[in-house]
């Protein structure tokens, strides 16, 4: 792709374009207060993306600390956290007890719920789309901004506002309903104000999600650079597009569900309350009609990142471009057909059978993706930088996560595994081993473009191995726990499970250490990292055509697509020389396909 000045700029643009809009977007505007104000009121998708990135990572930190707290409590079959440890290590726990939460069990329940709610609603759903998607979707499209920049800013503030509700609920000792808020428990358990705040938080965060998705769909439709047809789009865009469809169509349902739940909680209107003739299973239908599609909101952008990274770091045209693109849409479509597999034990049998059958449809597009990725690696010229390491880890971990989904989707085996640690392990292999690992891959891949600095490759490899080993120790053991009958969400367990639980807890510490290493590597890079070149990885998508740190309006001139996003065999990457990324001889290319 080349940038050509095609004279498309309008008269009123000319006035701005040669002024301050040519400076890198990170350059401060005047003094500190002016800069802060500039960031707070910016409609620049890059700044909003960066703010989102730090916000979701902060939420990830909170959720992670809560997860470590859970694992410590589960170190022994009986109560671990008490006495001084309680006061010293976990302000949450102490706060809970001080506020009159009766037993350690209910403190545990709160922490478990908050871990789930924070991770799902405040970290992983907005996670990749709102941060990396916001930053790179317009760049990859060659656009100046998203379609509705002000709506984008609104989405950010709505997210902040919603998170504020969630955090205030937490500071008021939180909720113990489980992140799924199943009725009638969530309408009758203690903590009126906290639960109402948390319900409102989820309700509000839904709007942020809708705004982001709406913006991305319209941007993809209307702001593609000249020459960039639908099948010239990077697969990250396809994934974000499919994600956005789900966000727009599924999120309103959680809105109305939580609106009903709010009224149920406040006034006992009875729709979900069997005591008043209502139907609690109806809540589960409502909830999962949103929350199942939304797990694809979590995983699809991750798949998009993996498609990018695998192609770039194996210097090879992506195998089966169209198959991957359409499988993203297929996953989005199928995601609306399978929500009932979360309710095998609570719904009628006919519905359960239909849902079980439909659930297996998800395996098809997912497997299409995985096979295509592996075929891309075949005979590629692979280099093992951090993003690639994470992408390869994704393939491994996500396959485990996906395949363990099959026994959960099969009705008969699920009745045994339902609500056990097997589900916990499966979910974390898909969400952590899938989404978070891909998120890390994406952060490392795009870090030079976002902040214009390189990071220390050796230390980030150390971080990678700590995360990889820690993750597997933490969650692989939980498959065994689950098949042996350890139910999820329990604060204590029988002695036989002690060893596996302890391995899991030690693993979580290694995992935590890995994140600390990454944190320091990236902070070091921000402060003292070497300046990044325009295109350190030799990628061909449009975001690498702009300056090392993009300017205000992304591109100095409107870019024009002249080659596909993965034509590594034919094109010298923009900003690179042929010595850096030599093109293969033509015959070799032919035999490789």
């Amino acid at each position: 792709m080349t940038t050509v000045d095609r004279g498309l700029d309008h008269a009123h643009d000319g006035a701005h374009d040669h002024g301050h809009h040519d400076v890198p977007y990170l350059t401060p505007k005047g003094g500190p207060i002016a800069t802060v104000w500039d960031w707070m009121t910016t409609v620049d998708h890059k700044k909003i993306g960066v703010m989102y990135l730090f916000a979701v990572l902060f939420m990830f930190f909170i959720g992670g600390v809560l997860a470590l707290a859970l694992r410590i409590e589960l170190l022994e079959p009986t109560r671990v956290v008490d006495g001084e440890l309680q006061g010293a290590a976990f302000a949450m726990l102490a706060g809970g007890e001080a506020a009159g939460v009766a037993s350690v069990g209910s403190v545990y329940n709160r922490i478990m719920t908050l871990h789930g709610a924070v991770m799902v609603f405040m970290f992983i759903v907005p996670g990749i789309p709102a941060s990396l998607g916001n930053f790179f979707l317009p760049l990859q499209l060659g656009a100046k901004d998203v379609a509705f920049p002000k709506l984008n800013l609104t989405s950010w503030y709505v997210y902040l506002f919603g998170s504020l509700f969630g955090v205030s609920s937490m500071l008021m000792t939180g909720v113990d309903t489980g992140w799924t808020f199943y009725t009638p428990y969530s309408t009758t358990t203690d903590g009126q104000a906290q639960i109402v705040l948390m319900i409102l938080a989820v309700f509000i965060l839904g709007f942020s999600s809708i705004f982001t998705g709406l913006n991305f769909i319209v941007t993809t439709h209307k702001l593609r650079a000249p020459g960039l047809g639908w099948f010239d789009l990077p697969l990250f865009i396809w994934a974000i597009y499919a994600t956005s469809i789900i966000q727009v169509l599924a999120t309103p349902v959680i809105g109305v569900t939580f609106l009903l739940l709010l009224f149920e909680r406040l006034f006992q209107i009875g729709i979900f309350d069997p005591g008043l003739g209502g139907d609690p299973v109806l809540f589960q239908h409502f909830f999962w009609f949103y929350s199942h599609p939304v797990v694809y909101v979590m995983i699809l952008p991750a798949m998009g990142i993996i498609s990018e990274v695998l192609a770039v770091f194996s210097r090879k045209k992506l195998f089966g471009y169209r198959a991957i693109a359409f499988s993203s849409l297929a996953i989005a479509g199928v995601s609306f057909l399978v929500w009932g597999h979360h309710m095998f034990t609570s719904q009628g049998e006919l519905a359960a059978m239909i849902f079980s059958f439909l659930t297996f449809l998800v395996a098809i597009p997912t497997a299409v993706k995985v096979f295509n990725w592996i075929a891309t690696l075949y005979k590629g010229s692979i280099s093992f930088q951090t993003p690639m390491m994470y992408a390869l880890a994704f393939l491994f971990l996500f396959s485990i996560g996906g395949l363990t989904g099959l026994p959960l989707g099969a009705l008969s085996t699920d009745l045994h595994l339902h609500d056990s640690y097997f589900v916990v392990a499966h979910f974390h292999y898909v969400m952590f081993g899938g989404t978070v690992i891909a998120f890390l891959s994406g952060i490392h891949y795009w870090w030079p473009k976002m902040f214009g600095r390189m990071y220390d490759e050796r230390w980030s490899h150390v971080g990678f191995w700590l995360v990889f080993v820690g993750f597997n120790l933490t969650f692989f053991t939980q498959f065994f726990l689950g098949t042996q009958g350890m139910p999820r969400r329990y604060v204590s367990y029988i002695d036989e499970f002690t060893l596996l639980h302890q391995i899991s807890t030690y693993g979580s510490w290694i995992l935590g250490l890995g994140f600390i290493v990454h944190l320091f590597v990236l902070l070091h890079s921000l402060v003292a990292g070497p300046k990044a070149p325009q295109n350190p990885w030799g990628a061909l998508t449009m975001e690498w055509e702009t300056d090392p740190i993009p300017v205000e309006h992304n591109f100095r001139h409107e870019p024009v697509a002249t080659h596909g996003p993965y034509d590594f065999e034919d094109v010298v990457p923009p900003g690179c020389t042929e010595e850096q990324f030599p093109l293969p001889p033509k015959e070799e290319v032919r035999t490789a396909h």
Partner: protein
């Protein structure tokens, strides 16, 4: 909704043309046509979210109609279909007037546009007035309330409180949309009087119009479901 209407008035003040003629599209668009199309796709996406929002309420209705057909029929019997019908007519009329208002703006018949918009606003107000004065207030006072708040002593069916929950939630969410629509239409009237909308720029009007039609659409389905059951 400001985003739909971004970037007006960037031309010098001495320009005496009406504002809609002076309108300049957002800087990141290639031309105003693209901007208009994008706004429309955006609005339709927003309408999709609205439809799915209401679908939850319709789903709850369907579930309880299947579970407790007698209670739903008895509950519907407490409503006067004549108020429902009047409100339907009022909303249909307002849908027509806002469609006409957009047409007038497209043809630069500004005076008629104002008249049509004003009628639309009045219809919305009438809808809410009928809803509150003749339906909500007396029923609430009698104790015909949702769920645990129920205190009507002459109920014939055990599950009538559920009916009232559905009724108040469905019409309440709809009435909220009507209220928001009134605010938007009032905003339109003010801006239209100031000459913001004309043949070359009426995106905001188109958007509010579509929103208002979807409010009407939801009521078209709510009316028979709530008032004409037996």
């Amino acid at each position: 909704m400001a985003t739909i209407d971004s970037g007006p008035g960037q031309l010098p003040a001495e320009d005496k043309r009406p504002r809609w003629e002076r309108y300049v599209h957002g800087h990141h668009w290639r031309n105003a046509d693209d901007e208009f199309d994008a706004a429309k796709i955006g609005i339709w996406l927003f309408l999709a979210t609205e439809i799915l929002l209401f679908s939850g309420l319709f789903c709850a209705y369907a579930v309880f109609r299947m579970l407790y057909p007698e209670a739903i029929a008895a509950g519907s019997g407490y409503l006067d279909w004549r108020f429902g019908a009047i409100n339907t007519v009022v909303l249909l009329l307002s849908s027509w007037t806002i469609a006409m208002a957009i047409r007038c703006v497209q043809l630069d018949q500004q005076k008629w546009a104002t008249i049509h918009l004003t009628i639309t606003w009045l219809c919305a107000a009438a809808f809410l007035a009928i809803k509150f004065a003749f339906e909500y207030a007396p029923k609430w006072a009698e104790g015909k309330r949702p769920g645990n708040l129920f205190s009507y002593p002459y109920a014939a069916e055990t599950h009538e409180p559920i009916w009232w929950s559905i009724y108040y939630m469905a019409t309440g969410v709809h009435a909220t949309h009507v209220l928001i629509g009134m605010g938007l239409i009032a905003y339109l009237i003010v801006r239209q009087r100031r000459g913001y909308y004309g043949p070359k720029h009426y995106t905001m009007m188109e958007g509010v119009g579509l929103y208002w039609h979807i409010v009407d659409l939801v009521w078209i389905f709510l009316f028979p479901l709530l008032y004409l059951v037996h």
